[in-house]
Symmetry: C2
Subunit: 337 residues, 2 copies
Amino acid sequence: MAATIKDVARTAGVSTATVSAVINESAYVSPGLRARVLEAVRDLGYAPSQAARRLRTGVSELIAIVVADLSNPFYARVVCAAEAAVAAWGFALVVFNSDEKPEAEKRIISRVRALSCEGLILVPVGGAISALGRDADSWRIPTVLLGRTLEGDGLDAVTIDNFAASYHATSYLIDLGHKRIGAITGPRHLSTGLARIEGMQSAMSAKGLTVEPRFVRSGDFREEVAYSAARGLLEQPERPTALYVANGLMALGVMRAIADIGLRCPEDVSVASTDNIPGIRGLRPNLTRTEHPIVEMVNEAVRLLVDRMKRGEAVEARHVVFPSALVVGDSCAPLRA
Amino acid sequence: MAATIKDVARTAGVSTATVSAVINESAYVSPGLRARVLEAVRDLGYAPSQAARRLRTGVSELIAIVVADLSNPFYARVVCAAEAAVAAWGFALVVFNSDEKPEAEKRIISRVRALSCEGLILVPVGGAISALGRDADSWRIPTVLLGRTLEGDGLDAVTIDNFAASYHATSYLIDLGHKRIGAITGPRHLSTGLARIEGMQSAMSAKGLTVEPRFVRSGDFREEVAYSAARGLLEQPERPTALYVANGLMALGVMRAIADIGLRCPEDVSVASTDNIPGIRGLRPNLTRTEHPIVEMVNEAVRLLVDRMKRGEAVEARHVVFPSALVVGDSCAPLRA
DNA sequence: GAAACATGCCTAACCGTTTCGCTGAACTTC
DNA sequence: GAAGTTCAGCGAAACGGTTAGGCATGTTTC
């Protein structure tokens, strides 16, 4: 078995209290003993049992993150950033994938509670609210929503301005002279999906244009469906001259579809999209897209979460919105007369 | 504070042992008492403390994964697959990123132990052995190595045949007539890095060719260094006509470098690489590469790990090697005379 | 020089479970 | 009806830490 504090105490010839004091630097210990203790710790490869410490002090050093689609490189980056952010606060990160399934999300959240995680970072898919427990008596794990919001939840949230992101990307296409602009959207039932649709439509009507339904296909934020949708869209007799794609993963599919059909980007069709995933920089042409400050978002989310963990339900729910920046590549060309 | 098992016992007028028996269904309890206990549980809103349970039973339902570079989409996929595999066995996954730093890896491993994770999936960077404790008396967490191996560790491992992968990719280039073949390699101190170098060299010498040192640059398996290395390599007065790149992330950088220099792939330079990351399919030209069966590998790793957790050190260390498949794209062209 | 205080470490109680061994009652068996 | 068997339920000892309180020392203060 692993070494315990008693083994260390015995080896160093001191009491467990002294070992504890050395480990936690919670009391003065003379240099001599201190050195002996540290040596014993090293020799035995001792690491304090988190379970015991938690039982006594009430702190588990676990924060859970539940993402909606771990196979999406965007969320993989989120997890990467979260691991770093959480580690900086002294926590370890438990990762779950709800795979966009509300039932899975519910199951996961009760599991998170059973594991006595101290906090929860949640990219919600919709099944969450009831699972989190809105009843007054049932205890809620401190939670921060990431990327997407829920209606009337009273939870802290960190998002980006999705409306502005798609508005800008679409405006950019319009300013290049495009009028027949199509879209591969995300699901309407997600706050991100909806806001990006609305942002695009707003940009269009602001310039007196309309979005033709036949130029719009709804995707699921994943690559394969977007690929087929793009093929369907672009193989019509009359096709849009530009496309707004609601996320990066779908943009990969769209670019592949364009190439497979034998069209050229940007000569035949301009493409702009939202969100940043690794691999998108490898695309040729270089995709014009709005990028999200993932690391900053996640850091802020963890900051809010840790604060909430400390202060409990006392504080009002906070909602931090990050701006996204338009990164101009060469996937968009002016409309040819 | 939350109710404890003692509160429940007192309320129901039974002992804590009985409450425990009811909760866990670990022993027969007469219907009458059982009902009283359940009622008390409901009234008090009692939920067992996982921490106490963990301390007592030693089961944490936690498996840790430590990857060498979480920002590499390849490992992000590994984590994704691991989450699913581990969940299927009833565990939750704690994710750590050693960021290719041996000291970080050491620190993380003692943390894994402190969290009383029951198993460890490790993509080692080298600092691991001592941290895992090779002394007979110090307790080792059940561990399976993934992707990379360590010398004489006696640990279970799941890898791919890196030698064969680079051998095949290189042979493919040679068969197209290329003779001046360059390489962007991984670090020699990693088993993957070394095996891929050796596989390439073997393929070359098997066909009577030699690898010219000036055509080789060593990378770090990341994009940026590979980008610069490729520029350096290809901007020489005399440049290689084909390039073997030791992983997918570096391939993204290389393709970007080729485009930025103004060369064309495959007309001016052919490229083949190893390993699969999402986003690589979006590349144009479509990259010729060897792909790894990530999901199968990870599933096998988890299977080995769970088995090891059950059987202890009794079993001999097992090493499972997966083959990789050459996926031919259009990033390689026959050498022009 | 005795009282008061500071220092440095130890002893032991406690956190909330699970679980082993035990008790006494009820039920068989001859 | 005494001895042996079951069996539901209990008491208490772990599990591995933290920490309040205590106890020898050594040092200051009048």
